[in-house]
């Protein structure tokens, strides 16, 4: 029995939304009662002192090393990192060896965390081995539980493949996810092409590489009349294109990595490879456009872009280091620290609990009596410092060690289990 006291309930459409309540959860994980005041004996009591309780958060597009790169991250460690970051649901990328490109891998993921408090929603590959060639058995993977189709970190280069994928998923009302990144323009770019790449003598990744391919995807979307989710939006131009496409009525949704909402290329001054990420950290004008996009709904949700890498892949000369950083545990504190003042607590619920599920047609958990508890407890005010021992991933690649944050996840509850901090 768990008793959460003095929590502000954020669950739009339910009777207790917006109110300060005590909430008790029984042994099976069901919400027993929600009252202004509850006194339960023999309960574990957590007084959250005015912190918020939201339906459990979901992150789409996390890189898991399982199967194949278990030394970077396995299902257990990603579940622990997700819980610590406030998430109760994950949709992992298909880029593993072997890739998630047939029914059996989808089932492996779907069943892999059955006993954990995390709900796992697999993303199936669009092409065999995510290599951009032949299309996969999308219907079969859909039946096995894949919620959408993407080549994940591998952006779909071939326009014909993209077109056929968008057409093919229509029979199941499916969604294709693509992170636009034209490799012929991006070349061997290391960081955003701009003033910093010029000053550091580093090959640049032009905004053009993202926008050119996004244009293509939007044209293909209009042609196929299908559904597209644009992942890893990072430029002002891309936000404008998506805004315009939505205005025209195309069925497009989009998400932005947390780091791109918080930081710009300026942090790369010291060649810290932990800031070497894809999409790259861009300029102030991009950052501001992304923030506007989040606030006006052009961008539907925020993603962690969680990419665990062993230390050896990062403790290298900059061009030799791999792209990617941990993100699950720092998504909320990072964004809240940098733009919490413009956000209401309700915005977090929209961005992390509602939109990720609504986009993929998943039911959003409700905080009401007799429902199973699937919730995230968070404070937008608590201040803390991120230390190495707090990392729950198997990998160490975060640029945020030693940084102070405002905003903290206090716990998650789901499937009759809880993790409280």
């Amino acid at each position: 029995m768990l008793l959460i006291k003095n929590a502000k309930i954020l669950s739009p459409g339910t009777p207790h939304h917006g109110k300060k309540r005590d909430l008790s959860i029984d042994r099976k994980g069901r919400i027993q009662s929600i009252r202004a005041k509850l006194d339960e004996k023999r309960s574990k009591v957590l007084d959250v002192r005015g912190a918020y309780v939201s339906p459990g958060w979901m992150d789409v597009g996390v890189q898991v090393g399982d199967p194949g790169f278990e030394h970077r991250e396995d299902l257990q460690s990603v579940a622990a990192a997700a819980a610590a970051g406030g998430f109760t649901a994950l949709a992992p990328q298909p880029n593993t060896p072997p890739p998630i490109h047939s029914k059996s891998e989808v089932r492996y993921l779907r069943d892999g965390l059955r006993d954990s408090l995390i709900d796992l929603y697999p993303l199936g590959a669009v092409s065999q081995s995510c290599e951009g060639g032949d299309i996969t058995e999308i219907y079969d993977m859909h039946r096995a539980g894949a919620i959408a189709f993407t080549d994940g970190q591998q952006s779909i280069q071939d326009g014909g493949l993209m077109m056929r994928a968008l057409q093919y998923v229509k029979a199941i009302d499916g969604i294709v996810i693509n992170a636009p990144h034209d490799e012929s323009i991006a070349g061997r770019g290391q960081i955003h092409e701009g003033q910093m790449s010029t000053a550091l003598g580093m090959k640049g990744l032009p905004a053009l590489a993202e926008e050119l391919m996004l244009q293509r995807d939007l044209y293909l979307l209009a042609y196929t009349d299908s559904r597209l989710h644009v992942a890893n939006v990072s430029t002002a131009g891309a936000v404008a294109l998506i805004r315009e496409a939505k205005r025209k009525g195309l069925r497009v949704t989009a998400s932005v990595p947390a780091m791109n909402l918080a930081l710009t290329e300026e942090v790369l001054e010291g060649f810290d490879t932990n800031y070497k990420v894809l999409p790259p950290l861009r300029e102030k004008s991009d950052l501001l456009a992304l923030r506007r996009g989040i606030q006006d709904g052009t961008l539907d949700f925020v993603s962690s872009n969680h990419t665990p890498l062993e230390g050896e892949a990062k403790k290298l000369e900059f061009p030799y280091a791999d792209f990617g950083a941990l993100g699950l545990q720092t998504l909320f504190p990072l964004v809240n620290t940098h733009l919490g003042d413009r956000f209401k607590a309700e915005d977090w619920v929209r961005l992390l609990a509602f939109r990720p599920r609504e986009v993929f047609g998943l039911a959003v958990p409700e905080i009401r009596e007799k429902e199973m508890a699937n919730l995230t407890i968070f404070s937008t005010e608590a201040e803390w410092t991120f230390e190495a021992q707090a990392i729950r991933s198997k990998s160490p690649n975060t640029p945020f060690l030693g940084q102070s944050f405002r905003g903290k996840v206090l716990g998650v509850v789901n499937k009759g289990q809880s993790v409280l901090f």
């Binding site: 092409e193 701009g194 790449s197 000053a199 003598g201 060649f271 403790k315 000369e317 061009p319």
Partner: protein, 309 residues
């Protein structure tokens, strides 16, 4: 002279030096230039200091220049080059350097193909580091010797016009020269085919000119860079033949100008490509003075860093 010490324990790039650091290096180099023209060229300043020259990328003149500078200061010198190294056995840079430092080395001179490699090293090891060229990032000693040579020829560089010609995109020399010349008050224009000029170079306060003649008409000094074929992973221009026709500096072109432009080149020269022999070997050219000054500049930097121990 306002100071007698460098503001930094390493020379990782011109970016990280102050203007008074640069002036201090010039003044120190002047006295070393006098030393190396004496009958006995050696001084004991770096006795008992061990310097490791780590060259992870091919070099002739920079390596020789550093080695001479070190030996004239009486340092103990060890050399390492990538071809004879454990790099091919997949040892990491950090492991390689730490192994060398375990043999009690005080200073590291490093050339490396990766931008930022010396900065990376400086965060992880305890030795003074001098960047002898890191990929397409910086080559600070080259920029210092270039500016020192221009200063010898033209005096104070404030207000002087310097054009940098050629492959700007793949050039660490261009970038370091831009930083250095700007700190000394000179104006800089870069000139080359558009595919070899970084798109955002103008944001650094640098002019861009695609026409060679116009660049030459504008400048007091033309610093002509080598085409870095080894750093081009794709084709940025169709042929050396066409490049030589449109961006090669020849005597006829120089003679048609109404003034005498000082000609520089960091070497090695591709004769007949970016510069013809009659230009390289002319009185306008200070290419060999650059090489001589290189030793004095490197002696100055080694001396000043050793003083920070």
């Amino acid at each position: 002279m306002t100071t007698s010490q460098l503001s930094t324990p390493h020379v990782l790039g011109i970016k990280y030096l102050t203007e008074s650091d640069i002036q201090l290096i010039f003044e120190t180099a002047e006295s070393f230039k006098e030393v190396i023209n004496r009958p006995i060229k050696k001084v004991p300043s770096l006795r008992d200091v061990t310097v490791a020259n780590l060259f992870f990328e091919y070099s002739t003149r920079t390596r020789l220049s550093f080695e001479l500078a070190e030996k004239r200061l009486s340092a103990d010198v060890v050399n390492f080059s990538a071809s004879s190294s454990s790099v091919k056995k997949w040892e990491t840079l950090l492991d390689t350097v730490n192994n060398i430092l375990s043999m009690k080395v005080d200073m590291v001179v490093m050339r490396h193909p990766a931008p930022g490699a010396p900065a990376f090293l400086s965060r992880h090891i305890d030795a003074h580091i001098i960047n002898a060229g890191d990929g397409t990032h910086e080559h600070p000693t080259q920029a210092l010797l270039d500016a020192f040579s221009m200063r010898e020829k033209l005096g104070d560089l404030a207000g002087k016009k310097v054009a940098i010609m050629g492959d700007i995109l793949h050039s660490r020399v261009a970038l370091s020269n831009i930083f250095c010349l700007q700190k000394l008050g000179a104006q800089v224009v870069v000139c080359g085919p558009p595919t070899l000029i970084p798109k955002y170079i103008d944001r650094m306060g640098v002019g861009v000119e695609y026409n060679l003649r116009r660049a030459l008409e504008w400048c007091d000094v033309a610093n002509i860079l080598r085409i870095q074929l080894e750093r081009q992973d794709i084709k940025y221009f169709p042929s050396l033949r066409e490049y030589a026709q449109f961006y090669g500096v020849n005597k006829q072109l120089l003679n048609s100008l109404k003034k005498e432009v000082v000609i520089m080149h960091p070497g090695p020269i591709n004769r007949g490509v970016e510069i013809t022999s009659d230009v390289a070997d002319s009185d306008q050219s200070i290419i060999l003075q650059q090489v001589e000054n290189g030793v004095a500049i490197r002696m100055a930097i080694l001396y000043l860093l050793a003083a920070k121990r």
